[in-house]
C-alpha cells in the first residue's frame, strides 16, 4: 500500500507541476488552479468555461507494482505519465488537464475490485484503465456498469474478457487496447505450422486463466493446420512459483521437439534460466516464450542471449515490440520514452501510453465525460498509435492491430536483445471473430 501511495503521490505532484509549467509557457489561464488540483473536491473543480465541465480529468490506473511481475506496473505508469505530460504540456484535452492516480492490483481480483471502487467513487476518477492479471480483469468487468465508468484494459489478455463479457453479456464499458491471447497462441501456431520437423509439443503454463486459454487456443489452431502434431506433456505453474525445475524436467521427460511457455516477467526470466541450467536447449528445436518480447525478459536474459546459450532456438512475441513497426509514430515514442526513463518501453508501456491518447481521441469526439457518450465515441474508433493503427471493433470492443513474432537475437544497434527474423501476419489471420465459438479449456 505504501508503494502505491508513494508512487501515485509522486506522479500526481509531477503531473501537477508539469500542468503548471505548461499553463505558464503556453500562456493559458488558471495556472494556480491547475498547479494544486489535490486540494479541490470534484464539485469545486466544475467550471463553465471548460467544454468537458471540469478543470481536471481524473484518470485512475492499476497494475502490479510489487513482486516478480512488478516491472509491468512500472512500465504502465511510465507510459501513462509520458502521455499525460505530453498532453498537459499542450494544454490538456479540450482545455482540461489530466491527473493520474495509480494503484497496485497485486494480481488479486479482490484487490483490483476494491481499487476500482475506490478510484471511481472516492477519488472521483472519470476514466479507468489498467490491470495486468486476467483474473483481475474478469472481476472488474462486471462492476463497471454499476460504477458507470469505462475501463480500457491495457494488458490483461484472456479472450473471455471481450468474447464473453462484452460480446456475450453486453458489458459495453469494457474496452481492450492490447492484443489478447490470440497473439501468443494463434499467431504462434501460424509461425510453427511451417516447421515440419517439430511434431511433439509440450507446454509450461501459468496455472490460471491466462495459461489455460493460451494452451487451449494454441493446440486448437495448430491442430487445424498440422493434424500430425502431438501435444505430449503439460506442466502448470501458479503465481509465486520460484523454482520451475520440476516443471521443466517433467515436460522434458516426454522428449518434446518444442516447448511453448506462458510464465511472464521475472518468472519468465527465471524459467528460461532454469531451462538453460537443465540443458534444455541442447535437446529441443524451439522454445516459444509467449511474452518473451517484453523488455524486462529481454533485459533479464541479455547476458545469456549474447553468449549464444539459447542456440537461436528461442522465439517470442509480445503485444508490441519496440523495434516494430519502423514508422515515425513508433520511433518518436521509443525516443521520448528512452529520453524520459532511460529504458526501452515494453508493451504495457506502449498500451498505457496509447490508452491515454485513446481517451483524448474519444473525449474530443464525444465532447462529454458521460459514459454512454464515451462508449459511442470509442466503438469503431481508429487511431494511429506507436504499435500501428488500432481499430476498436464495435462487436467486442477489442482493438485490432498486428504484432509480429520472431527469434530472440542480438542486434548491434540495441543495448538489449530484440526480436529478429520477424514473422508478420495480418491481424485478421489470427484474431478470433464474432460470433465466438466457446473454447474448451483443459483446466
Amino acid at each position: 500500500m505504501t508503494e502505491s501511495k508513494k508512487i501515485s503521490r509522486r506522479a500526481l505532484l509531477k503531473a501537477a507541476t508539469v500542468a503548471g509549467i505548461g499553463g505558464m509557457t503556453l500562456g493559458l489561464s488558471k495556472v494556480g488552479e491547475a498547479a494544486s488540483p489535490k486540494e479541490k473536491t470534484p464539485a469545486q473543480t466544475k467550471s463553465k468555461k471548460k467544454i468537458l465541465g471540469v478543470d481536471v480529468i481524473k484518470v485512475g490506473g492499476q497494475g502490479v507494482i510489487s513482486g516478480a511481475h512488478a516491472d509491468y506496473g512500472w512500465q504502465i505508469q511510465a507510459g501513462a505519465i509520458l502521455a499525460i505530460d505530453e498532453i498537459n504540456a499542450k494544454g490538456g484535452i479540450l482545455g482540461s488537464k489530466l491527473e493520474l492516480k495509480f494503484m497496485d492490483e497485486e494480481l488479486k481480483p479482490a484487490v483490483a475490485v476494491k481499487n476500482a471502487r475506490y478510484l471511481a467513487t472516492e477519488w472521483g476518477a472519470h476514466l479507468l484503465f489498467g490491470v495486468d492479471s486476467s483474473g483481475s480483469a474478469m472481476a472488474i468487468g462486471p462492476i463497471l456498469p454499476e460504477l458507470d465508468r469505462i475501463c480500457v484494459f491495457d494488458h490483461a489478455s484472456t479472450h473471455r474478457l471481450t468474447e464473453e463479457l462484452v460480446y456475450g453479456k453486453g458489458i459495453k464499458q469494457i474496452f481492450r487496447i492490447a492484443a489478447p491471447v490470440y497473439q501468443e497462441s494463434n499467431m504462434a501456431a501460424l509461425i510453427f505450422k511451417d516447421f515440419p520437423n517439430i511434431k511433439r509439443w509440450a507446454g509450461i503454463h501459468c496455472d490460471y486463466e491466462y495459461g489455460y486459454s493460451v494452451w487451449a487456443l494454441f493446440k486448437d489452431t495448430l491442430k487445424k493446420y498440422r493434424p500430425d502434431v502431438e501435444f505430449v506433456s503439460i506442466a502448470w505453474a501458479p503465481f509465486w512459483t520460484m523454482d520451475f525445475s520440476s516443471h521443466i524436467s517433467a515436460v522434458m521427460a516426454a522428449k518434446p521437439d518444442a516447448i511453448i511457455a506462458t510464465p511472464w516477467a521475472g518468472e519468465g526470466v527465471m524459467l528460461l534460466r532454469q531451462a538453460l541450467m537443465l540443458g534444455v536447449f541442447d535437446k529441443i528445436q524451439a522454445w516459444f516464450q509467449c511474452m518473451g518480447g517484453s523488455v524486462d525478459i529481454l533485459e533479464g536474459i541479455s547476458r545469456e542471449v549474447a553468449a549464444g546459450k539459447f542456440k537461436d532456438k528461442l522465439w517470442a512475441t509480445a503485444r508490441y515490440i519496440h523495434n516494430y513497426p519502423d514508422a515515425p509514430e513508433n520511433n518518436k515514442f521509443v525516443a521520448s520514452f528512452r529520453k524520459r526513463w532511460n529504458r526501452f518501453p515494453n508493451y504495457s508501456a506502449e498500451s498505457a501510453y496509447s490508452t491515454i491518447y485513446v481517451f483524448k481521441a474519444a473525449l474530443e469526439k464525444s465532447r462529454s465525460l458521460k459514459t454512454s457518450d464515451l462508449i459511442k465515441a470509442m466503438e469503431g474508433l481508429k487511431l494511429m498509435t506507436p504499435a500501428g493503427e488500432r481499430f476498436f471493433r464495435p462487436e467486442d470492443h477489442q482493438a485490432i492491430y498486428n504484432v509480429p513474432g520472431g527469434r530472440v537475437v542480438i542486434d548491434p544497434n540495441y543495448p538489449i536483445p530484440i526480436l529478429g527474423d520477424l514473422k508478420v501476419f495480418p491481424a485478421q489471420a489470427y484474431y478470433r471473430n464474432p460470433p465466438f465459438e466457446a473454447l474448451k479449456m483443459d483446466k
Binding site: A68, D71, W236, S245, A253, V269, M270, L278
Partner: protein, 285 residues
C-alpha cells in the same frame, strides 16, 4: 523408471530450500514455543542481503552468503530481544499478531529499500554446467544445494545431540523452569536459538538468489509450505521438518509429472490425511 529417478532428484533439490526454512521454524517453535509467521520474511531478507552484497557490490559469492547470514542474525536478534521476549507469557494469538505484523513491516521495508521490482542477479560462473544423471543433464547447482541441505541436517543434528549448548537447549525445551533452576540463562539461550533459526532461513534465501526470483512477498509465499511441512512432520520436531520437507518437495515434483491437473491439491491432501491419521504429525508426540 529413469524419469522417476530424475524427477525425484529435481524434487529433492527443491526440498532442500524448504528444509532450511522449516528447520528454523520448527526449532523456534520447539524451544521458544513461538510460531513465527515472519520466519519466511527472514528467508526473504537472506535473499535480499545476498543480492545486495553479491549482485550489487560484487562481493565474492561465499563471502556474500556469510555476510548475509550475519545481517539476518542481527535482524533476528532485535526481533527476539526487543519484541518477542515480551510476549512469551501471552497467548499464541498475540504471537501470531506480532509476527504477522513483522511480515507486513519487512515486506514494506524491502519495497522501500530495494523497490517492488524483482531482482535477478547473475549466476556465479563456477556453478554453470551439468552432470549426467540417468542419461539426462542435471544442473551442478542443484547437486550443490542437495549436498548443502544434507550437510546442514547433519550439523544441526550434531549441534543439538552432541554439544553442551544443544543439551541446554533441549533441557529448556522440555522444562523451562527446571532448566532455569539449575542455572541455564533462559533469556540468553532463547535469543541464541532464535538467531540460529533466523540464520538457517537466511541460508535458504541466500542459496536461492542466483536461480530463483528475489522479490517482496517471497517470504509469505514460502511460509505456507513451511507450515504444511511442520504440520506433516510434527510441530517442533527437527526430524519431522526434514522428512516433511522431502515429502512436500519430491511429491510436488512427482505431482507435476504424473498428475499435472491437480498437483497443487496433492500436498493439501497429504496434510489432511496426516492430520486425520496422526494429528500430532508423523514424528510429533
Amino acid at each position: 523408471m529413469e524419469t522417476l529417478v530424475f524427477q525425484g532428484l529435481v524434487g529433492l533439490s527443491v526440498s532442500m530450500y524448504l528444509w532450511l526454512l522449516a528447520a528454523g521454524l520448527t526449532i523456534v517453535f520447539g524451544v521458544l514455543g513461538v510460531l513465527n509467521f515472519a520466519h519466511g520474511s527472514l528467508f526473504m531478507l537472506g535473499a535480499y542481503f545476498t543480492f545486495t552484497y553479491y549482485g550489487l557490490w560484487g562481493v565474492n559469492f561465499w563471502l556474500a552468503i556469510a555476510l548475509s547470514l550475519l545481517s539476518v542474525a542481527v535482524v533476528g536478534y532485535f526481533m527476539e530481544r526487543f519484541f518477542l521476549r515480551h510476549i512469551y507469557h501471552l497467548d499464541h494469538a498475540y504471537q501470531l499478531l506480532l509476527t504477522f505484523g513483522f511480515i507486513l513491516i519487512f515486506d514494506d521495508a524491502v519495497k522501500m529499500i530495494w523497490g517492488g521490482v524483482a531482482k535477478i542477479p547473475p549466476m556465479p560462473s563456477f556453478f554453470e554446467g551439468t552432470v549426467s544423471v540417468v542419461g539426462r543433464p542435471f544442473p551442478f547447482y542443484n547437486l550443490f544445494i542437495i549436498g548443502t541441505g544434507l550437510a546442514v541436517a547433519i550439523v544441526v543434528w550434531l549441534l543439538f545431540e552432541k554439544t553442551w549448548w544443544g543439551k541446554m537447549v533441549r533441557a529448556s525445551a522440555s522444562d523451562r523452569e527446571m532448566a532455569s533452576a539449575i542455572g541455564v540463562n533462559i533469556p540468553t539461550l532463547f535469543t541464541g536459538v532464535f538467531v540460529f533459526g533466523a540464520m538457517l532461513a537466511a541460508l535458504g534465501g541466500a542459496l536461492g538468489t542466483p536461480v530463483r526470483v528475489v522479490a517482496p512477498g517471497i517470504g509469505a509465499a514460502m511460509i505456507i509450505q513451511a507450515f504444511i511441512i511442520t504440520v506433516i512432520g510434527g510441530l517442533g520436531n527437527l526430524k519431522g521438518a526434514f522428512v516433511g520437507a522431502i515429502i512436500v518437495g519430491t511429491l510436488s515434483a512427482y505431482g507435476i509429472l504424473l498428475f499435472p491437473v491437480f498437483e497443487l491439491f496433492l500436498i493439501f491432501l497429504i496434510m489432511a490425511v496426516v492430520l486425520m491419521v496422526k494429528p500430532q504429525g508423523l514424528f510429533g508426540g
